[in-house]
Symmetry: C2
Amino acid sequence: MKKVILLAAAVPMLVRGEIPEKAAALRDSALQDEVAWSITEGLTTEVGQRLAATEAEARARDWAVARLKALGFSNVRIEPFTMDGWVRGEEKAEIISPFPQRLIVAALGGSASTGSGGITAQIVGFPSLDALKAASPDEVKGKIVFVWHRMQPTQDGSGYGMFGPIRWYGASVASKKGAAAIIIRSIGTDHHRIAHVGSTNFEAGVKPIPAGALSVPDADNLERMLARGKPVSMRLTLTPQFTGPRQSGNVVAEVPGRDPTLPMILIGGHLDSWDLGTGAIDDAAGIAITTAAAKRIMDAGRPLRTIRVVWFGAEEEGGLGAEAYFKAHGSEAHALVGESDFGADRIWQFKMNTGAGGNVVKARIGALLAPLGIVTGSGEAHAGTDVEPVANAGAGVLGLNQDGTHYFELHHTPDDTLDKIDPEALRQNVAAWTAALAVAADSPDDLRAK
Amino acid sequence: MKKVILLAAAVPMLVRGEIPEKAAALRDSALQDEVAWSITEGLTTEVGQRLAATEAEARARDWAVARLKALGFSNVRIEPFTMDGWVRGEEKAEIISPFPQRLIVAALGGSASTGSGGITAQIVGFPSLDALKAASPDEVKGKIVFVWHRMQPTQDGSGYGMFGPIRWYGASVASKKGAAAIIIRSIGTDHHRIAHVGSTNFEAGVKPIPAGALSVPDADNLERMLARGKPVSMRLTLTPQFTGPRQSGNVVAEVPGRDPTLPMILIGGHLDSWDLGTGAIDDAAGIAITTAAAKRIMDAGRPLRTIRVVWFGAEEEGGLGAEAYFKAHGSEAHALVGESDFGADRIWQFKMNTGAGGNVVKARIGALLAPLGIVTGSGEAHAGTDVEPVANAGAGVLGLNQDGTHYFELHHTPDDTLDKIDPEALRQNVAAWTAALAVAADSPDDLRAK
């Protein structure tokens, strides 16, 4: 603690970036936070996976309401919406020849079913989505497409933008060329026998095909098999099902401000998770960090502006909770939005989108974050999926960017579990969010970006 | 290479431990070895898992014969034996209440079946095997026993001796107290959602019960659930089957010595593996290392003694290949035995059991290994399971001990795959075995321990 205070004193003062004493004190006491850990531990232990539109997600909403009320938030409620459910079935990938063995596979969200008997076909491999796009339909027709790649870790997560499209669009491209199915090397940077799932998207009018992800070691093994030059055939069995219209929902809680006429601050993360892990880093940690920070502001005395904390539903299926929120609340005045949805490692970078009216607040936040080891970055802050519609409508964006170097070792895998979270890193996150909220919620300045 | 030679020159000469030039040259050229990698890559890619007494293990034997012949070994043959087969079935562990969710489980070798409907019972937890042993049958009867522990990594693998008994004997202890089933925290030091399997042993007359291992994160989660003080109930489904008498076998190859009257050297590893991974570090690497070293000796000109290389079958089921070998060959004269079966990390320690007649050889080997970063250890060398019967009958034991710090992150898991092997560490192993064989196979000294 002492070290933090000394570092704070050593930060050069930015123009108008002076550090408000109250915010600095709140930041420092947040380094002792236990609330974020308690939420993360509780949700992963007492609920576990929370796939959108399932009974588990509904239990998670009830858990959320009880916890948010117990923490003292106001106006705690569930805002339900309806969506099409999808659930995983049987999952098997067997090399039939020339090297019979089973590979680890998991269906991508939105995958069609192979039927319970599976499909058996020859593998045609491509090193990238671009190579698949360039292939003639003759090469692909009736085959199981396999796309590999060499995703590398990046601190800022930009590798996801580069390699994510293999999962997001590969199935649609393969289907248009007549492929029987597609399997991709997991969009991940680990070397464990666990597949990274996530949604795949079929363009309107394109026939959905079975689509799965192999674990990285299995994809590497298949690549070695193909390199031997003999035809490789696989029996692929994936039997996911669309379950029809089901309920999902957002859980909303508030810290009412002293001046309800001022545009509010919207923060949060998503309550739903993929189904193979327990949704610890994606995104129990995110809702825990933002909620713990909001509670610290609340407990320090009513802020000037209202802070709304939302635990969004069905983020993983393409931001359905975000759509529902914007439909219900898009017309309300939002000053600033921010989401924590990139794991639980330390925040390394701060960015903020705001008009000229927000410059003082931005400088103050930057100065407050420096002692936590956070650099102020240049360029645009990225609004998370859940708050993006509100940001697109003009709200300012608070970007507290977590170190993503290890994020894609765990992202959308069975390995997304509590033991992967460092409690000290979680506290650094809470301290950063607390500092930012302390400044932004007590300032009457116009924080909007547009 | 230059660095190695310089280091070699700097090693103080032990009494009678002078470094034979030919052995030093063979050691150094082995640091360029490609044979061990080729065997490991080939076996894991072209065969994959090789569970004893299955069709996959039979394919592995055929692969072995072809490869050993192609490498130029003599007298290559399969020596078959019969054993009871056991294969994995369905595997599910579901918390029913109070926190419904699925946990990752795998059946231990020798587990009984729950039947396809599974069994539902309350969990009773124990922190150790000793605590289970101390429990009254009233606490355990009709329940699913859960044993956790805090296994830590050790370089010399001694943690396995300390925590292994939970897997080896826990099921038998639980059955005698009337437990419906047992699940243990995997005997492993990783934090991934993969279970560590391996055999469990029921004492004669004790009724086999279903026995499984939870992944470490799942065991930690269950421990947290129990800590909340409410009764926890689980539905456990494990449907393994004993498949009756099936064929397994050892694959034997030789480098004939110039003097067939001298007792031979027996080295090797095991060809079979557990069924969830591809048996890369356990034990494709071990057979690859010892075979590559024997080939280097062979290619350098006929050694004085015969070197026999055995790729043992059914090691994982309790050393059945070892028994079959000893039955067939126990009466032949063996001077020295050594097995590589502790992964593929660097060798850190050399030990050798030998009588006074072997002291010169031992000192020379120690001096040759020093430049590879290998310390000569005190105490008894451990003969691997496969060569133990021959060692027990009096042969000397060559112990080239691999660093086990990370071994139990992978041991008996789906993660035992090729990508976990560092080719440079594999070459250091080959160099050490080559050096040891170069000395021992060209010495007429009596190397026997008894």
